[in-house]
């Protein structure tokens, strides 16, 4: 599932630290970018590479909200529901997104294109309400703008 290229990137990441365990978060990011989420086999792979107990990899991975344990859509939408975004109408937008995608939070659309999650402040309060689609930020959202943004992610 994870190949030699991933192995090599994890090995290189570990060189940046005096202790290879510190490469755990980098390794989780690398594996998730490859697989879309972190299944048990990926955790086992990382545990072996970094010589860290599997239980510690699991314990660490499940602490962080951006590490996904379940398959996601091809594109992951993270929409902010913290106060600055809520003040400017985040909740009606989340309703719109849910209706438009036809799935609940954490579920994947039938075509596999999208899943969405609510997220805490993403530091785009100057463009609230805001959301991330994969690595891209989209701010000053309206229902129309959300529809247009989704079109850009085939």
């Amino acid at each position: 599932m994870l190949n030699d290229d991933v192995r090599e990137r994890i090995r290189l990441a570990a060189l940046r630290y005096p202790d290879s365990r510190a490469a755990l978060l980098p390794a989780l990011h690398i594996a998730q970018a490859e697989l879309g989420h972190l299944p048990d086999e990926a955790m086992r792979f990382i545990a072996e590479e970094l010589n860290v107990p599997e239980s510690d990899v699991y314990g660490t991975a499940t602490f962080y909200s951006l590490i996904r344990r379940r398959p996601s859509g091809k594109h992951v939408i993270s929409i902010c529901h913290n106060l600055p975004c809520t003040l400017l109408g985040a909740e009606p937008l989340i309703d719109h997104l849910r209706t438009r995608l036809g799935v609940e939070e954490g579920e994947v659309t039938a075509d596999g294109r999208f899943s969405y999650q609510r997220i805490e402040c993403i530091g785009r309060c100057d463009g609230a309400p805001a959301m991330l689609v994969d690595d891209d930020c989209h701010g000053d959202l309206t229902p129309e703008k959300i529809d247009a943004v989704l079109e850009r992610y085939p």
Partner: protein, 449 residues
């Protein structure tokens, strides 16, 4: 006043090192290298610079503790885990002028004797991660990082360490745990990181904006630097204005500027036809202020005297459409989600607060719920392991103190009057995160016992 922190962010391609250098970047490195490390620390001490991440600890003193510790190696960590709701100032620097931060780190590392540095960047800033990686590679290319920097025999290695979504990692000992590859839970202090931080070694952890001040202190000298700002709060500050204003954004102004000037002159005033109602002046964990307090000066001491805190300088503005019960509930939901689970008062307290707010907003309030909220806060305040729990009670206590009538209306048999909730969604849209969202995220965020 000339900007010190945002001077290059409007310049196109300032993240490119040649552009940045043409506009003065890295000029303070050579000046610092001509000084002895202890003299650099003294200069920063004399400047009066206080940490910009929220706590306001004197930066020079922090450096001094680490520099004096005989243990080696030493580490310098930039705290770029900007997570305080309403805060986006560090992102503006990271994306707009990454070389300003790198320059500050090179100088800080020289002063404290650190040969290895990390920028702990929050996972929600993927664009900044890419930009920083590029900027660091360019700095290596110009001989500003690595071995024998500027031919002066100084070594400093720097890389980005990406977080993965955990507000608690903004607390410096949790950040260090996370850097070491563990769950981001706080450590008991003392020992402080300056003596026993990353891998047990002396470690300085400074916020992005704090480090971004360092080149100006060296270039201008501490005397000139400390002429800007207010008594006990020298320098400028990047204020992040969000919410019900015409021009939300990041504004660099001298510390001591009034909140009114910031909202009216910089952020263009309150949205058309609305009135200012309340302000959170320093991020989610600082107590709210009312419209009547809008002439307060935005500096460490003045905000403390006004019953709040400067915090991260994140100014969340609420107008008369905002329901204060809902506003407090949204922040409590946040703290409940981000509580790391290590200590009981915070783990249980944020959970209970959240449950009580949820039933109030869903129309199921019980008589005595205000007293219950105050009671829970009393069991948390001063009893939590780290500042997260302390922050979590602030929106509750301050909103009840300032807007108790609104709580009484929300809890009364007619429910929220609606007038104050116009424009805010309420009731049916309010989501429990504890049960609903946990179930969704499966075994993620398993920070409950």
């Amino acid at each position: 006043m000339e900007n010190m922190l945002l001077k290059r962010v409007k310049i196109p391609r300032a993240a490119d090192i040649d552009v940045a250098v043409a506009h003065g970047a890295y000029s303070a490195v050579a000046a610092a290298y001509d000084m002895r490390p202890l003299d650099v620390i003294d200069e920063v001490k004399r400047s009066g610079l206080r940490g910009r991440g929220g706590a306001g600890f004197p930066t020079g003193a922090k450096w001094g503790f680490a520099a004096m510790d005989p243990k080696r190696p030493k580490y310098l960590i930039c705290n770029a885990d900007e997570g305080e709701p309403g805060t986006f100032k560090d992102r503006i620097i990271l994306e707009g002028d990454p070389h300003l931060l790198i320059e500050g780190m090179i100088i800080a590392a020289y002063a404290v004797g650190a040969e290895r540095g990390y920028i702990y960047l929050r996972g929600e800033y993927p664009a900044a991660a890419e930009l920083l990686d590029g900027a660091i590679a360019q700095a290596y290319g110009k001989g500003l990082l690595g071995n024998n920097i500027l031919g002066k025999g100084v070594t400093f290695e720097l890389s980005v360490h990406r977080g993965a979504g955990a507000y608690i990692c903004g607390e410096e000992t949790s950040l260090i745990e996370s850097l070491e590859g563990k769950r981001g839970q706080p450590r008991l202090r003392p020992p402080f990181p300056a003596n026993a931080g990353a891998w047990g070694k002396p470690t300085v952890v400074n916020n992005v904006e704090t480090l971004a001040n360092v080149p100006s202190i060296i270039a201008l000298g501490s005397d000139a630097y400390s002429k800007v700002g207010a008594e006990g709060s020298p320098g400028t500050k990047i204020f992040c204005v969000s919410g019900a204003v015409n021009r939300p954004g990041a504004y660099e102004l001298p510390l001591g500027t009034t909140l009114r000037e910031l909202i009216e002159a910089s952020a263009g005033g309150i949205r058309a036809g609305r009135r200012l109602k309340a302000i959170i002046p320093g991020g989610a964990s600082t107590p709210m202020l009312t419209a009547a307090q809008v002439d307060v000066k935005m500096d460490f001491n003045s905000l403390l005297a006004a019953g709040s805190m400067l915090g991260s300088g994140a100014v969340i503005v609420m107008d008369d459409t905002a329901c204060m019960v809902h506003a407090a509930a949204v922040l409590v939901r946040f703290f409940e989600h981000e509580s790391c689970g290590k200590c009981t008062p915070c783990r249980e307290g944020t959970g209970w607060l959240h449950q009580v707010y949820s039933r109030i907003l869903k129309g199921g309030a019980r008589g005595g719920d205000i007293e219950l909220l105050l009671n829970i806060c009393g069991k948390m305040k001063g009893k939590c392991f780290c500042p997260l729990g302390e922050g979590a009670v602030q929106p509750v206590l301050s909103s009840i103190r300032l807007f108790r009538d609104e709580y009484e209306r929300c809890i009364g048999k007619n429910g929220c009057s609606g007038a104050s909730c116009k424009g805010m969604t309420h009731g049916k849209n309010y989501q429990m995160t504890s049960a609903e969202s946990r179930a969704i995220s499966n075994d993620q965020n398993s920070n409950t016992p």
